[in-house]
């Protein structure tokens, strides 16, 4: 076990900004991208099921 306490873990012994700044952005982008791809597929299916809704 590397960490004596939770605050030890969260502060990364002085490197918290750099470590969490890296992992935070990675997590955000890697959740956003699948969400966008799944939404795009859903919209494509929806459009195919309802062709020309305004006509």
């Amino acid at each position: 076990m590397n960490w004596a306490s939770l605050s030890d873990f969260l502060s990364m012994r002085g490197y918290g900004l750099y470590v969490w700044g890296s992992y935070g952005v990675a997590a955000a982008l890697m959740l956003l991208e699948p969400w966008l791809a799944l939404r795009r597929r859903h919209q494509a299916l929806h459009a195919a099921a309802n062709p020309n809704p305004e006509n």
């Binding site: 076990m1 590397n2 960490w3 873990f9 990364m12 012994r13 002085g14 490197y15 900004l17 750099y18 470590v19 700044g21 890296s22 992992y23 952005v25 990675a26 982008l29 890697m30 991208e33 699948p34 791809a37 799944l38 795009r40 597929r41 919209q43 494509a44 299916l45 929806h46 459009a47 195919a48 099921a49 062709p51």
Partner: protein, 251 residues
């Protein structure tokens, strides 16, 4: 005669769509499980680095992201070329579907590199060979995405994109070998085919788990996007209509 493997079976958009439906739950599951395992080993098993302290833990996403940025570019150029040479529509769709994920990993490699460079080198950015060539890779991805999006004629867009992707592929070996060819602030390769890895076993394990996680993630998200693109391209086709109406009935 029919004994030959039917390689082009999944080149049909409808069969590709079905295949991805079978494979993708496994890729998503593997991505999540491998990420959890990699993060656990990376933060709780791998020891503190003697010289860099805890800042080195950025390596567990930095190196896999940088690898994916280059591998995905080569895959994109390959499928774009296949689509161009054989007039294979799904190959061109795959090339287009790979680009945003490649751009995302390139950005991530640069971002995590900056957040690692600041505490270890004292600067967020330097214009050295490794960093500059990786930045050019990001511009190649963005240029490819903008180019194919700007051409209304799908087939012409695929061909123009293929040309850009193939010419740009020369940048990938430049990135990879930049740390050997030029004097650079960036460290040399952590892992090579010819020498033992220059890191502790647990560190290497965490990095490999995260690399596999990023691979699984890439397959899952690129295949999902390719499915969406196949539906958009074939929006009048019978298979899309059947699929869409089937979904509607069941939901």
């Amino acid at each position: 005669m029919n004994r030959s493997v039917r390689w082009f079976t999944f080149a049909a958009p409808s069969r590709f769509y079905w295949l991805v439906g079978v494979l993708n739950p496994w890729f998503w599951t593997a991505a999540v499980a491998l990420t959890i395992a990699g993060m656990y080993v990376g933060f709780f098993v791998a020891p503190t680095d003697a010289t860099q302290g805890e800042s080195y833990r950025i390596i567990f996403i930095h190196v896999p992201a940088a690898w994916m940025s280059m591998i995905i570019y080569l895959a994109m150029a390959f499928w774009a070329a296949v689509g161009w040479m054989f007039n294979a529509r799904m190959a061109s769709v795959l090339a287009r579907a790979l680009a945003p994920t490649g751009a995302m990993f390139t950005f991530l490699a640069l971002w995590t590199g900056a957040f690692w460079g600041k505490p270890t080198w004292g600067t967020w950015w330097v214009w050295d060979a490794r960093l500059t060539s990786e930045l050019i890779l990001l511009f190649l991805y963005l240029g490819y995405i903008a180019l194919v999006a700007s051409i209304d004629d799908m087939v012409r867009g695929d061909k123009a994109g293929a040309l850009l992707a193939i010419v740009g592929a020369v940048n990938v070996p430049i990135i990879y070998f930049s740390v050997r060819w030029w004097n650079t602030l960036h460290q040399g390769a952590t892992i090579s085919m010819t020498a033992a890895p220059k890191m502790a076993h647990t560190m290497l394990t965490a990095m490999m788990l995260m690399t596999l996680a990023f691979w699984a993630y890439s397959f899952a998200v690129v295949f999902t996007r390719a499915q969406a693109m196949a539906l958009e391209r074939d929006h009048d086709a019978e298979w899309v209509r059947q699929l869409a109406l089937g979904r509607k009935d069941s939901s």
